[in-house]
Symmetry: C2
Subunit: 465 residues, 2 copies
């Protein structure tokens, strides 16, 4: 029986067991943004390390960072074979609003073809798939065809603040020919794709204050400024009504899309009406002059992730609030620098803060530059080949609206381009209530990794010749 058939048989026979492994991982509420879950984050890291040891990885350890540890482990490359960093993250987003979950976020539950849990797709399921494939490869051919260095972080959902420093401080340990990202998505269940670019990110909080105390709205509401009103007025100066960002200089460094790039994006089978109806939206909203897909892939954003001030309990409190807060993230495209973008926002706030209010900007860590893979990368060829074989059709070249800081960091620090090889799907509800992972995607991911590692060995053998 050829190796690939043996792998398929192994995966089929161990499917229930591997699914149970993933469920065990999903039960750990490793929410990196909430300090009260620090112990759970640590527990998830230890769970991953234990798994790597069971798979025979060498040098498995939790490498400390300023924040949460990196889970490390490696399989050395056979002679002549390349080495890949395998990247994933064991932390997850907070699950709130909890009341919108049909089943509890940390009790993984199968309904239909989906496994529901916080982190099911982002990223525990997608990170677990290559480990399951590694298990199958070792069980059937006794070794891995290429070298693998696992780099699993616990801070992706808070913007990977420790990772750049860790990479800079560990260049020798991390030396690799390229990186594989086990975090990200496919175009659809029947349409493979390869993500060739991702956006950068810059995040901040605006803290606005008016009076020195909350005020009685009857006694002061007609005379004293209201912090919530003032913050609403301030943040709405950051877009025009149609959705174009009105921060001075925000779009300036960006190279506009070429006709070719626009044609490439237009060729993607993306139906704006279907997208809108899927989200049950009366209308879309965003920068005019671009299609929704152009905006999602190639134009920057400035998004209010949260805004709050005053009373938000049941019923009524007749208060004129004296403070209000907003969380903002910008997604960045090539030539935008995170620090410079936050400078522009800070200057905008100084110019546009309404009279009677003072606003300050707090910068969050985890800024990241945008990323794009080299178009002729041999590992990208290998991935294309495997996906074409598995699905019987060409993978689409797509871009991520989201951010993977690690991709730009590994490229700029180590010269290791990142190949996104991951099976998130539309409808997974990542970062939202009722997140899920499509079980057929989990199966496809494992089969694909079983073919991908040998194919990388083959392609790199050819490259070297």
């Amino acid at each position: 029986m050829p190796h690939s058939d043996a792998c398929e048989t192994y995966l089929r026979e161990h499917d229930a067991q591997q699914l149970e492994g993933l469920r065990e991982f999903l039960r750990i509420p490793s929410i990196s943004s909430l300090p009260e879950h620090n112990d759970d984050v640590r527990r998830a890291a230890e769970w991953v390390a234990t798994r790597l040891r069971a798979l025979g990885a060498r040098g498995v350890e939790l490498l400390p960072t300023v924040g949460n540890p990196i889970v490390w482990g490696e399989w050395p490359a056979p002679a002549g074979a390349p080495t890949a960093i395998l990247y994933g993250h064991y932390d997850v987003q907070p699950p709130d609003p909890l009341d919108l979950w049909e089943t509890p976020p940390f009790e993984p539950t199968i309904r239909g073809e989906r496994l529901y849990a916080r982190g099911a797709a982002d990223d525990k399921g997608n990170m677990f798939a290559p480990l399951a494939a590694i298990e199958a490869l070792i069980a059937t051919i006794g070794r891995l065809p290429i070298g693998i260095k696992c780099l699993f972080e616990g801070e992706e959902e808070i913007g990977s603040p420790s990772l750049p420093g860790f990479v800079r401080d560990n260049r020798e340990r991390l030396r690799a020919d390229f990186a594989i990202c086990a975090d990200g998505g496919m175009w659809g269940p029947d349409q493979p794709s390869l993500t060739v670019a991702s956006k950068g990110i810059a995040a901040c909080q605006i803290d606005l204050r008016t009076a020195n105390t909350d005020l009685h709205s009857g006694q002061h509401g007609m005379a004293a400024p209201n912090a919530v009103e003032a913050l609403a007025r301030l943040v709405t100066t950051m877009h025009d009504d149609a959705g174009r960002i009105t921060i001075d200089g925000f779009y300036e460094p960006i190279r506009d899309l070429t006709a070719d790039e626009r044609a490439q994006i237009a060729a993607i089978p993306f139906d704006e009406g279907e997208y809108r109806r899927g989200l049950e939206l009366p209308a879309l909203w965003g920068e005019p002059g671009y299609t929704a897909l152009e905006r999602r892939w190639a134009r920057p954003s400035l998004d209010l992730n949260g805004l709050w001030g005053g009373f938000n309990g049941e019923g009524l409190k007749t208060v004129t609030p004296c403070e209000a807060h907003a969380k903002i993230t910008c997604r960045l495209v090539p030539n935008q620098e995170p620090g410079a973008v936050l400078d522009l926002i800070e200057a905008h706030i100084a110019r546009h803060c309404p009279p009677g209010a003072t606003a300050t900007l707090r910068r969050f860590g985890g800024a990241a530059r945008p990323f794009a893979v080299s178009a002729d990368h041999p590992a990208l060829d290998a991935a294309e080949h495997v996906l074409r074989d598995l699905y019987g059709k060409d993978p689409l070249s797509i871009r991520a609206g989201g951010t993977l800081p690690v991709a730009e960091t590994l490229q700029s620090e180590l010269g290791a381009d990142m190949i996104f090889f991951s099976w998130g799907m539309p409808g997974d509800n990542v970062h939202a209530p009722n997140e899920s992972y499509l079980l057929p995607a989990f199966a496809a991911a494992r089969r694909a990794y079983c073919a991908f590692l040998p194919e990388l060995a083959r392609v790199y053998g050819e490259v070297k010749r």
Copy 2:
């Protein structure tokens, strides 16, 4: 020894004991807007009833309403003397934000000349003062010089939703010559005043929705509408930049201030700069064309009491929120009808809701019309006389920016005009953290009530002659 001297002596000798009584009352967290405090609200009602019984009131009971009970008790009028309804409320505002309190809101604490606690001024302290005076009058002259019917409600801080119905259903029980309001404020510690008008109120909540779920801001933030952004855009259409309300028809029924009224208000010793500096505000904000005091006393407001949507925890959550909410109250002046004002806001929302969002208006109970006392009312004369005696200067005629639904209700249902006789002070921080009651005001209030009740008997005797 004249009666008044005997009363003063009694008050002096029982000061510590009466203060301890008030502290006991303040320890009960009778927050009417939070369902989890229902039992505490009930406990406060029972505490008041027990106090009335101890003072020899007749017919003391908790009269049920749809919501929280009315505490009832009465001292019948001596022959020929008038009867007054004595109004107060035993419920309080929520204490949040808790972290801004220097001492816990329900552990009454004296610092300097002030007693700090939620409800210290609004309204437990101000409601306790006449009961303390009644104690002194009974102890010294053996009876009350006029009839008193206590009407203490437990829903003032949620807009008195049950009170109008209760008054309509209990006209016979409530029959009185006038009413005394033990809730409200004085111009200042050394400047007595009489409040001759109060504003109406209308309250609502806007619930806005965009997509059918929260979205990943990287994948959707440039294409899908953001509920927080949409709600901020919607609420900022309700004022112009300068602070004029831009709801169609909002100002239409309002009669503008006459030159006389403006002169009267201008004569009040109110310093806008001092007011602004006291609140540590860089600038005031509100309808242009009116002084701050004109706005506070005689112009309506539309105030955002709270707005929230998306993530408001520590750190970062890269979400494009799908829902957002705002609480709004309007303070109304003569000729504005609460229901009609909410109709205008609802129509405004329908016209101005941004594309991609749907917004609905939820009306809160407790709407109230504005109120004004008859200028030549004999009980107003009595109050003026007592204050002039006590302070050695004329009381100012002032207006309340706040709302006392009961005043308009008792006037329209029973023909009983309300005299505001209450010792709230600027700087009490009512409805805000570190609410307090000025102890010299507590003393003045008790002395004033000891003089007020005999003076009312005297004035009404003259009126009848």
